[in-house]
Symmetry: none
Subunit: 407 residues, 2 copies
């Protein structure tokens, strides 16, 4: 696999004023066509830093470097100049670039724009349809140097239309990749379960990427190891079994919506501490209107009584975060909406309100589906919003389980 | 000014699967307390790459390196191990870390979790309250090495609570800083308004940091330029005036909650396309229970009719995204909840459903407060979720305006 590095040039990235989305975009594009990425680097608008990094690239094992930024008309744009100097290439005026400038400005270009029409001898010009600075490709002693402009909305079309097709011609790697979404187990518990499989890996990699309440596992190997790859996928599926939510890039929200659609079910929520987050997660998916008609945020005790007909006595006796209140909430919701799947949530997201019997992060929920009513309690750690988010994902995971396995 | 570099460890960043927000966050935090940043680097989960980068740091002029990622329990987490090896430090079991693990898991930790309780001799432990892997600080021959976990929601509190105070003690810079939250104007329109002020800046910097629907302006200068600093703040406030939401780090959610509390008001929403997002944003703030009792997600037409008593004829005649429907929604909500502030939203978040008269991103909303009913329509650009988020922030901004200025 040929390896590549990515360099972002610009003070605004370095100081943290803007998030460097270029590196991830470019890495993603390169990975898709079979490159491995060795490194991302971000440096400031400094002639010396650019020269240094070109030196580092030339002595590295990487075959390709993608550099973004510093191609514009201003006094602090000099990526092209620094790179050309380092590679001992003269800059020449290109008619093609002059024409593009003329076209962009309808002849009204400023003096400083002309700088952008000079290119190192032998380089390939990459037209930029959305801005004034063009990019370029330099082939140098078996290595490829690609210079692109900084703004993502300009460099992405340049990448898609010119750079990717160019690079595809120069390489022919085939990568096998499969991605699994796993929920319901912590990353470390997955690690324990998977450790016998990990010990057997030779040419195939299994990498976990954890995020709040979810873990993505990526299984990857070269085409020539397809048997080993398939065997690893097979064993992974056997081990993780019901904890696998999807193997086709679907999110948990996608999966829940699909399951509801398949069954022709409507879902409705009565949310207290999650406060609309659960409904909002589903509504973030286009097509949610097929499965969700209405949903309620009953945050106060009086709202639970008024809209869901929860008994005041139940709240007084068991507390608002209790099995009993959750069950009354879900039953009230069912008679209000007649939805096929009814879900209630009540919990303490903190940071205040803790008592001897109720801890911060204690979340109680009921799910009513197919004449089955389950009520469970679980504790989540973290800040107020983390607790709410973890609880929401967990409840979606439970809904998924009930719709898929009936438990 | 002391210089620092930032290293992100993790295949998921390197391959572009996730955007590296850690580097910009950390760069920003370090810049705030007076460091200059020399470089960001992202490398994969590779022992050798980590060792190489520690070498590069040790021979560089930088005084501080912040490394994120690779501290977890899995087989591909070995930042701590590689750094310790490079610095010739043995790993020892720390009781403090064992206790934190015990506490986090209530005794149910997996075998692979124990790895996280080993620390290099002499290092300072940075507790992680939101996850299982702790961070650490190593002082080594006049240089500081800080290792943090990868997930932003975990490493940001570690940074704020431990690393920043630690670094502040070691550098003694006195920086004056003020931060303004601005809404209701785009970044480029602010730029135009502020350009006369920008031209006058000598020793004080004014930096905008845009995020969805909001802009943070940071005004910064050294202590010795306090008169200029105060003058710039004064002029900034004069120019941005009513577009300033807060000058004390309060978010728009904080501000709306505070205003409602001050007035003793309850708020309630009837959300269609935002689907619970608005209520959830307010409920993310502790103390929301004082101002929000209940809220409704009336996503389907039938839900609008059933719960909010919107007339079917109104929907048929004007369409569901219309002034007329929004007004009927908000009036229905008012009679249902009697809340002091009632807000309805109906819009087309896309990606499908566009017609000649209704564009994707068209959002209609009504706000009913103090006997004033306003209904407005606005178009937001972007993906489905971006449209929903922008609309939610915009509506919070309008609620803020109505509560503060009565318009």
């Amino acid at each position: 696999m040929k390896s590549a590095r990515i360099i972002s040039v610009g003070d605004e990235v370095l100081s943290g004023r803007i998030i460097n989305t270029n590196s991830s975009y470019l890495a993603n594009e390169l990975t898709k066509i079979g490159f491995s990425i060795s490194k991302h680097i971000a440096i400031g608008d400094s002639y010396l830093s650019i020269e240094d990094e070109i030196d580092n690239f030339l002595i590295s094992k990487d075959k390709i470097v993608l550099v973004t930024g510093g191609l514009g008309p201003t006094h602090d744009d000099f990526t092209k100049e620094a790179v050309s100097k380092k590679l001992n290439l003269k800059l020449e005026l290109r008619q093609e670039a002059l024409d593009l400038l003329d076209n962009y400005f309808d002849g009204n270009q400023a003096k400083s724009d002309y700088k952008q029409a000079y290119f190192p001898v032998g380089s390939i010009l990459i037209p930029n349809r959305l801005g004034t600075a063009e990019g370029l490709i330099i082939e140098h002693e078996g290595k490829t140097i690609v210079l692109l402009v900084g703004p993502p909305h300009e460099n992405q079309p340049m990448m898609e239309k010119y750079v990717i097709p160019y690079l595809k011609k120069t390489i022919m790697t085939n990568i096998l990749k499969k991605e699994y979404l796993v929920m319901g187990k912590s990353e470390s518990h997955c690690e324990d379960l998977l450790s016998p499989l990990y010990k057997k890996l030779i040419n195939v990699a299994v990498n976990p990427y954890g995020s709040i309440g979810r873990i993505k596992f990526e299984i990857k190997g070269l085409n020539k190891y397809i048997d080993e790859f398939n065997q690893v996928c097979f064993e992974f599926e056997k081990i993780m079994d019901k904890f696998i939510i999807s193997d086709n890039y679907d999110t948990i929200e996608d999966r829940v919506i699909s399951l509801l659609k398949e069954k022709g079910y409507l879902i409705s929520f009565a949310e207290s501490c999650t406060g609309g987050m659960l409904a909002s997660m589903l509504i973030s998916i286009s097509g949610a209107s097929n499965v969700l008609s209405e949903s309620f945020i009953t945050y106060s005790e009086s709202a639970k009584e008024k809209f869901l007909k929860v008994n005041k006595e139940t709240i007084d006796k068991y507390g608002v975060v209790s099995f009993e209140v959750c069950e009354e909430m879900v039953k009230g919701l069912k008679s209000l909406t007649k939805a096929d799947v009814c879900v209630s949530v009540s919990g303490l997201a903190g940071p205040t309100g803790e008592t001897d019997s109720l801890k911060i992060g204690d979340i109680c929920y009921s799910i009513f589906v197919d004449n089955l009513l389950i009520t469970e309690k679980k504790n989540f750690k973290g800040t107020r919003d983390l607790i709410r988010t973890k609880a929401s994902f967990w409840i979606l995971y439970r809904i998924f389980g009930l719709l898929t396995y009936g438990k």
